[in-house]
Symmetry: C2
Subunit: 329 residues, 2 copies
Amino acid sequence: MPHSKEVMVGIDMGGTSLRALVVDGENQILAIEKDATNPALKPDAIIRDLAGLVEDVMRSAGVKRKRLRAVSIGAPGAVDPVHGTVHNAPNLRWKKVALRDKLEALVHVPVFVENDVNVGVVGEHALGAGQGAQELVGVFVGTGIGGGIISRGRLYLGSRGAAAEIGHTILLVDGPRCGCGNHGCAEALASRTALERDVRAAIRGGEKSLVLEIMKERGKERMTSSIIQRALRRHDPVMTKVMKRAQYYLGILVSNIVNTLDPECVVVGGGIAERLGEEFVRPIRQTAYGYFLRRHDASRVKIVPGLLGDNAGSLGAVVLARQRLKEAA
Amino acid sequence: MPHSKEVMVGIDMGGTSLRALVVDGENQILAIEKDATNPALKPDAIIRDLAGLVEDVMRSAGVKRKRLRAVSIGAPGAVDPVHGTVHNAPNLRWKKVALRDKLEALVHVPVFVENDVNVGVVGEHALGAGQGAQELVGVFVGTGIGGGIISRGRLYLGSRGAAAEIGHTILLVDGPRCGCGNHGCAEALASRTALERDVRAAIRGGEKSLVLEIMKERGKERMTSSIIQRALRRHDPVMTKVMKRAQYYLGILVSNIVNTLDPECVVVGGGIAERLGEEFVRPIRQTAYGYFLRRHDASRVKIVPGLLGDNAGSLGAVVLARQRLKEAA
């Protein structure tokens, strides 16, 4: 069986959905399958779903099962990639789950586990907006704000594997309370959760806004990226103002990252960036450049939206697994 | 001439003083000489002073001139280590000075130039408080706040050579104005300059303080580290309060660094840290640990005062020059 015929399955595990794809040796996507996750299920049941999804997506790709080399998963929360365990994933209500070992017992090929944002950043670096950069930082804005660092071309994990938690760097000492318990974190200022908090507060304060109406129309209880996009398209004054402020904070977050790490490239990813692209990133870039200590060649630092959208995590998981298989060989 | 008999001269160039030392192949200090810098002098005159200082310190060490292998300088401000130029050093009023080439023409041995904080961090990493760490960050608190990053055991410079400018990361959006023109930088909140601003403002506001009296006694116009130390020893209420707030900000700065880079060790250096040691660092550490996203093993990240004091920069300059000579060989 020649290596070039081998395929890999990459899976992005979210709090609400699973996304799996089959990729060949040239990183071409052969098939994609999605499934809902039910956080009410116990870990073992979700892991059985994962194993089922692997078989489904392999069938969709029309690739013989014996050609599957490995499965690689981006999982939310605190992950130990060495042991393949998920320490703590609040969205899934997981604590200390031996994801790798349990899934290997079901799929009978090597399984790799890494943090979901880290694999997203690896994906954008290897195949997306950050190709060729030796030093790159990814900033993923969603329910929270996650980050990933590429240093000398490789994923940087830090001494405890706790690096790149940029969503919990403080931008505003004694600012709004964050889910982590501290105050003034970037995540408490500029995540989708913070945007929704600020929009609802403005509406409660009597400001006119279409947001609740749009949510009702679309049958959504939460202010998703698509709701944000619609409200901006309809020039909703509250959404426009709240988004502008969040972009200002994100610009400062990016400049803090650049003043610390001076990467070649910052990729802004996640649901809002995917929908709004350059419209979302332009004001972030403008603010960031103004806050660089070294401004005369600021534009050498590229600040760009991600290119891979929903596939960043699962593609990055595959890229990372291939590196790890090579290292182990 | 065996290698082990070779010596190096390391120089730390400050805005107000030059400090040179001769070091043997085992990093033992053979002699130290100091000289005042006069920022009113033109760069060429200061460079002639540097050359004179090299001869003086070699004489003090009693080492034959032909045993001098290289001179290595930590210079303040924006430095291009590849070309050995000082781009911009406001304290010295230097702009685009070809320090390496001009000094090599006078001393006739290779000259290396690096940023003063970077060499200080290299010194603490190689010979001081951060020995053995693969990932380390130095935070130097003085007139400003500078930083340096060691990654995989080596000085990390970033893609433009602009990394580790942690003094200009924003901790308090729209906070007090910084010398760099932005607002809310760590340097504008917790440097010695910020401390002095806050102490003077409190006194102007009618708060009782011994600080101005102590400055008069000691014949100082600026609130130096020794003035700070004396005021704290005498339980000056304004100094105690202002210092406590600065330590809180520095704790948050350190936690931002750790949440981003997850190093094994953070070395807090500079004049105040040198004088106050653990008394200065303890509250910084306590605040930082409370702001780590990953807290259960927070104490694995060491947060310690520097050990080398005034010698950190000149020793680090020598260590770095030795690495660069080796790489070039």
